[in-house]
Structure formats: C-alpha cells, structure tokens
C-alpha cells in the first residue's frame, strides 16, 4: 500500500518527524503544570495557553485526517500538505514577528525544545509539499 504511493524515503522520514513533533505538542499541552502562570506577565502566558489550546485541537484533527487523505487521493493530499505548510509557516511568522509582545511560552524544557525544532519541522513540510507537487506519479 505504501509502495503504491511512489514516495521517497525522505518523505516518510519527514512525515515521521512531523508526527513526532505534533504528538509532543499535544503531550506538552496536556501536561501543562499549574506553575506556568507564575511569571512576570501571567496575561501573556494565558494568551499563549488559549492560542495553544486552539492549535492543539487543529493539530489533533490533522493527525487523524492526514493518513486517511494520503491513502485516498494524491490530488487532495498535495493540497492538504501545501495548506498545512502554509499554516505552520503562518504560525511561525505570527509567533516570532506579530504576537511576540502578547504571548509568552513557559520556559519548560519540552516547550523550549519544541520551539527550537520548529524550523526543522517547517523544512520537512516544505520537502513533502515539493515532493508531492513535482514528483511524477504513475497511476496503476
């Protein structure tokens, strides 16, 4: 079934990295300690918490929907992956350029790690989008 999709090993590695990242994001959100609001600006932490809540819901939906669309339709998975890449890039731009004065993520080890590896996740998604768009696909 996987061979039928005619995708490279790099695609599957990228997909695995993205899944691992998304699961860690959901895990980090579900195990938030009560002490995250004990900072100088608790309003900023609350804003980050509310935003992450909405994003975690969307990420959970994507985790479930992605394999279904991947095995169903090549055309729609290309669109879906491109849309997902655009969304992740938009989030990265928002967090670093637009909302940096309004939100503050907790300085917990896992959250710091997830923030640091975000560019790698974006690179993986860009690779997946390119491969799905430009790689020739022969229908059997």
């Amino acid at each position: 079934m996987i061979k039928k999709l005619q995708l490279s090993n790099l695609f599957w590695i990228s997909l695995a990295i993205n899944y691992l990242f998304a699961i860690m994001v959901v895990y980090a959100f579900l195990t938030v300690p009560d002490t995250i609001f004990d900072i100088e600006n608790p309003e900023h932490a609350l804003a980050a918490f509310k935003l992450t809540y909405v994003r975690a819901v969307i990420v959970t939906f994507v985790l479930i929907a992605y394999p279904i669309v991947l095995f169903k339709s090549r055309k729609y998975i290309t669109l879906f992956t491109f849309g997902l890449t655009a969304w992740v890039v938009a989030l990265y731009i928002d967090d670093n350029l637009v909302l940096y004065r309004l939100i503050e993520y907790p300085s917990r080890g896992l959250v710091v790690f997830l923030q640091a590896v975000r560019p790698i996740v974006i690179a993986c998604l860009i690779w997946m989008s390119f491969e799905l768009t430009f790689k020739n696909y022969k229908k059997h």
Binding site: F82, G83, A86, A90, D94, L97, V98, R101, L102, I103
Partner: protein, 165 residues
C-alpha cells in the same frame, strides 16, 4: 573564428516566436469580470485598512475611540499589515503573470483564516464598535475576505483551463 552574430531578419524571427509566450503569460486581461471585481475589491479592502492604520499611527489622521491605545493590539496590527502587504503584492504579481495564482490564493486563505482565529482568541475582549470602531470593523469584516479569496481562486482561469474549454 566564426562570425556567429544574428542579422536583423533572424532577430525579428526570434522576437516573433516569443510573442505568443508573452501573450499567454499576461493572461490577467482575459479573466472574467467577476474575477477582476473580486481582485480589485480585495486590494481596495486591505489597502484602505493598511493606509488608515499607517496614517493614524503616524498622527496624520484622527482615529475615533481608543483604537490604537492598546500596545499589544497596535504591534499585532503593525506586523500584520506588513505581512498582508507582501502577500497581496505576490497575489497581484502571480495573477498578472499567471504563475501559481491558486497556490498564492491558498496561502492567503490560510493566513487570513489564522488571523481571524488569533483575533477572536486574543482580542475578543478588546473589540467594541463604540470604543474601537476601526479595529472592530476590520476584525469582523475579515471573514468576508475569506469568501472572496476562495471565490477568486475558483473563477480564476489559467492557461490550461482555457485550452481545455
């Protein structure tokens, strides 16, 4: 050494050969009226809000209410106006040259949708037509542009579509 320069006849033949390519690329002129109306409306919509923001933030016009008194709201609006300016520029260029227009439309749709969600989550308590009419009208009218962007992507005719019809 051989003389490999082209003469006038050969140069004009080359130029004529590429005339057709130029005509295909500059396809925005052959779009439907609906598409043109949507593109112009979206440009006017974002351009007017961005202009009002920059004029009021620099003290050139008075914005009613406490529109830009909140520092967080002001910084978010400032950064978003820069991002939307670049997306809008790329959208217009891709529409004119007929390169990846639907891809840019999808990117714009995702960005605006993300903005709508962020605005509702972060600024909902600050929104009020009485105190911040400029910001509130912008936030509440933004979902309409989502419909406009999707509609524009649907009615856009690229070169391949036209050849098939």
């Amino acid at each position: 050494m051989s003389d490999n320069r082209l003469n006038d006849n050969e140069i004009s033949a080359l130029l004529q050969a590429f005339d057709e390519v130029n005509e295909t690329n500059a396809s925005s002129l052959k779009q439907s009226t609906t598409f043109k109306a949507l593109l112009i409306s979206i440009n006017i919509y974002f351009f007017s809000f961005v202009s009002i923001y920059f004029l009021s933030v620099n003290g050139l016009i008075d914005t009613p209410g406490q529109a830009l008194e909140n520092e967080g709201l002001r910084s978010a609006l400032s950064a978003r106006s820069h991002v939307i300016f670049w997306i809008l520029s790329i959208l217009n260029i891709s529409a004119y040259f007929n390169i990846g227009f639907r891809t840019v439309c999808l990117t714009m749709f995702i960005y605006v949708l993300n903005t709508v969600i962020d605005n509702i989550v972060l600024f909902y308590e600050l929104l009020s037509f009485e105190h911040r009419p400029y910001v509130t009208s912008f936030v509440f009218s933004l979902p309409l542009t989502l419909v406009g962007v999707v509609w524009m992507g649907i009615v856009f005719q690229n070169g391949v579509d036209r050849e098939e019809t």
